[in-house]
Subunit: 181 residues, 2 copies
DNA sequence: TATTGTTATACTCTATAACTATA
DNA sequence: TATAGTTATAGAGTATAACAATA
């Protein structure tokens, strides 16, 4: 539907093209929004069977990888309020995907670990999610896609560092090594 | 439900690094979330004087550039519900940044145009926003940053096309339904 | 006293539906 | 009948504060 809206633009302003920096290419915020909405409406559907869709998937993924085992660390990493994290974990536990365990080193903190079912479910879903992500990046060929993912990772990890919430994109090394081990 | 979940994945597993695809580098959703939160907490502060921060800024930018003059088109482009757009425009009008005008061709539709004040405010803010965005991409040198922005634009525009909400990233040339590219 | 997690409350944002005025 | 916009209401999501348990 190409609406030939005649006489759209009002009388005075003659040149809609704005100053140099004003090209849409530079609208990073808009690009981010578009991508996130697309992500939610595609990946979100794929992981829709999970308690909280993309967030449940991300939590489970972090847990399966053994990163950030405590609720607070999970919340910080995923940008979720700790009071919200309680509910999310509740639902993941109810679904049998993760478990709360006591940390002998710090009895205040709960360690979140994936159940067998949770690990399997995540493994299966992850492939589909990756495929969906790739389709999301369909405008790029394989090489550009990898470049994009790498640049994205660098940016996100640096940002994470700036925020100083938790460790940056440190590769997973050891789970319980926070205190013991 | 719970209870007899047998030894979920406890201390036995020494290698938390998961299967091939499971490296954090590939977690596009997490990267997107990190970036968006960083965007909101940096650019959002810069444009904090605007009625609705980043969204007000994005709306005003779209209007200043002469894209999507009607509220519905604005809403579709920015992924905002049309009932929400009413309030947002209300506040932008109250702030003297934009105006609602009658479209003589279709008296149902309102055309949103930027006021002088709005255009000036946006021009000034855009420079600061761009600078903030660049700081957000600080992990990348100038060349990588441009590459990233370009790839991002390609992805977002293709996604937009898939969603078929409105026209894709047509370069702004003319408001009157001239399609670029 | 500070921290982790939980709960309850309140607030913000968004979606749903109904209504108007135009087409 | 369908579309653009507005308004009102309800819902989901989120943050704030108070609390208990532990450090």
């Amino acid at each position: 539907m190409t609406g030939d809206s005649t006489a759209a633009r009002a009388t005075e302003t003659p040149a809609p093209v704005a100053t140099g920096a004003s090209d849409p290419e530079g609208d990073l915020g808009w690009h981010l929004g578009v991508m996130l909405r697309a992500y939610q409406s595609t990946v979100g559907v794929v992981v829709g069977e999970f308690p909280h869709a993309t967030r449940g998937y991300q939590i489970l993924g972090t847990v399966v990888r053994g990163q950030e085992p405590t609720q607070l660390a999970l919340a910080a990493r995923l940008g979720i309020d700790r009071t919200v994290m309680t509910y999310l974990i509740d639902d993941l536990v109810a679904a049998g995907l993760v478990e709360r365990r006591q940390n002998p080193a710090d009895r205040r903190a709960r360690m979140i670990v994936a159940t067998e079912q949770g690990s399997r479910a995540f493994e299966q879903l992850e492939l589909r999610v990756r495929a969906t992500e790739d389709r999301l990046l369909g405008a790029l060929d394989a090489a550009d896609r990898e470049t994009f993912r790498a640049l994205m990772a660098r940016v996100a990890c640096a940002v994470k560092d700036v925020d100083a919430q938790t460790d940056p994109c440190a590769v997973v090394t050891d789970v319980l090594g926070v205190e013991a081990r």
